[in-house]
């Protein structure tokens, strides 16, 4: 694997991100497909999303407690992320992530 990595640069895995509620509006799109390095964690994907769309930061992460948990539920392949390894959850090729803001208008 290391030799392959050196040759290829990195092995990319593809993850599909579905954004709901205010996140969808902030991102301007309900779905985003990202290519990230193999072995990337959920936290890496959150950072990448914020890097590409800074307007998502307020809902996606609370820097004071350094957690995405206060404002959003993140579902990784049907499982809520805190039931896995939280932001350290590693992702596989084809993973689907759903970002669901907790506070909605109503």
């Amino acid at each position: 694997m290391n030799v392959y990595r050196l040759w290829r640069g990195f092995v990319a895995v593809r993850v599909d991100v579905r954004l709901m509620g205010v996140l969808r509006d902030a991102a301007g799109s309900p779905e985003v497909r990202l290519e990230v390095e193999e072995g990337s964690s959920l936290g890496d994907v959150v950072d990448r999303l914020i890097e590409e769309r800074p307007e998502l930061e307020d809902v996606l992460i609370d820097r004071v407690v350094d957690s995405y948990a206060p404002n959003a539920l993140i579902i990784v392949d049907g499982v809520e992320a805190s039931n896995l390894e939280g932001s350290s959850t590693s992702l596989r090729d084809g993973s689907t992530l759903v970002f669901l803001p907790v506070t909605h208008g109503g």
């Binding site: 407690v65 499982v79 039931n83 803001p101 909605h104």
Partner: protein, 311 residues
């Protein structure tokens, strides 16, 4: 530790209740890990217990369920419908308020209508224009002393009362969740509002001529109503209100959410503290509004004050 399946690159623990299915949710304040079916069941059991604890309904109650089209009210409608299956004499009627916020409320009402149709629940809608002579869009556009939420909150509350009376209900169930309740406790403390603190009770109070208000989701955290809506595939409105600006509540919400991450269970403690300290002040004397006869602290109720009705 029991392990159910391996997906992703991680082992998923099995449900702590059924011990068979893989868990999908970790409940930080209790340590439970639940599969989707046990999560649904635990939410239903909690609502059932809350309804019993505060004696919210009679066996033959006609319950007006305040439905906004948001996740909380739609989750409540489904949970109450299941709960009332065991009470053949009880009835549910959905009551909706059209505040007149173009784009936002239109979408919510059509979602509410769709959900009610699916569940076979009768729906009754009242509007700000018919009740108060102007829509929320018009109120927001004119010169005003208070924030839009102050008007909308008071008038919407009144509109729900009117709708509940119009459908002949003896209870009005609203979708306030644990987060809303804990926020209200802290807001009352921060504002020094002893009178409101005295009235803080999820089971409401019976006042002659008024429909008793109850809050069956008062012990369900907002994260869990959101997850319930997602797991059960509920279509709900997800857009925030364009006039949402309640700065103090937002500050309190942020504070409580951070505390909950650091110390799971904080919201329950704040809510329970609110229940313990209620009734310790003198509560103020409840009077009747001289215009509409609603319960009021002064000569006029807040709804008549804000809508400018003095005669």
């Amino acid at each position: 530790m029991r392990w159910a399946v391996m997906t992703l690159n991680t082992l998923i623990r099995s449900c702590t209740k059924c011990r068979i299915a893989p868990s999908v949710y970790h409940r930080p304040y209790s340590g439970e890990r639940l599969c989707a079916a046990c999560f649904n069941e635990s939410l239903f059991e909690r609502v059932k217990k809350t309804v019993g604890k505060y004696d919210m309904f009679e066996y033959d109650s006609r319950i007006a369920v305040g439905v906004s089209g948001g996740k909380d009210s739609l989750a409540m409608l489904r949970l109450l419908q299941r709960l009332e299956r065991d009470r053949p004499y009880a009835e549910l009627v959905a009551v909706c308020v059209d505040e007149g916020v173009k784009g936002y409320r239109d979408e919510a009402l059509s979602i509410a209508e769709k959900n009610c149709r699916e569940l076979g629940v009768e729906m009754h809608t009242v509007g700000f224009r018919e009740l108060f002579g102007e829509t929320m869009d018009e109120i927001a556009a004119r010169e005003r002393e208070l924030g839009a939420c102050s008007y909308c909150g008071v008038l919407r509350r009144r509109a729900l009362d009117e709708a509940a009376r119009a459908v002949d209900a003896d209870r009005l169930a609203t979708g306030h969740n644990l987060d809303d309740m804990a926020q209200s406790v802290l807001l009352n403390v921060l504002r020094g509002d002893v009178v409101r603190m005295d009235a803080f009770h999820p089971g409401g109070q019976s006042l002659e001529g008024f429909v008793r208000r109850v809050k069956p989701l008062c012990e369900v955290p907002e994260r869990e109503t959101t997850l319930y809506a997602y797991i059960n595939g509920l279509e709900f409105q997800s857009l925030p209100c364009p006039y949402a600006e309640e700065a103090m509540r937002s500050d309190v919400r942020r504070f409580l959410n951070r505390m909950e991450v650091k110390r799971p269970g904080t919201k329950f403690i704040v809510y329970q503290t609110g229940l313990k300290i209620r009734g310790r002040g003198n509560g103020g004397v409840l009077r009747r509004c001289r215009v509409c006869g609603s319960p009021a602290r002064g000569d006029l109720c807040r709804a008549c004050e804000l809508s400018g009705r003095t005669e």
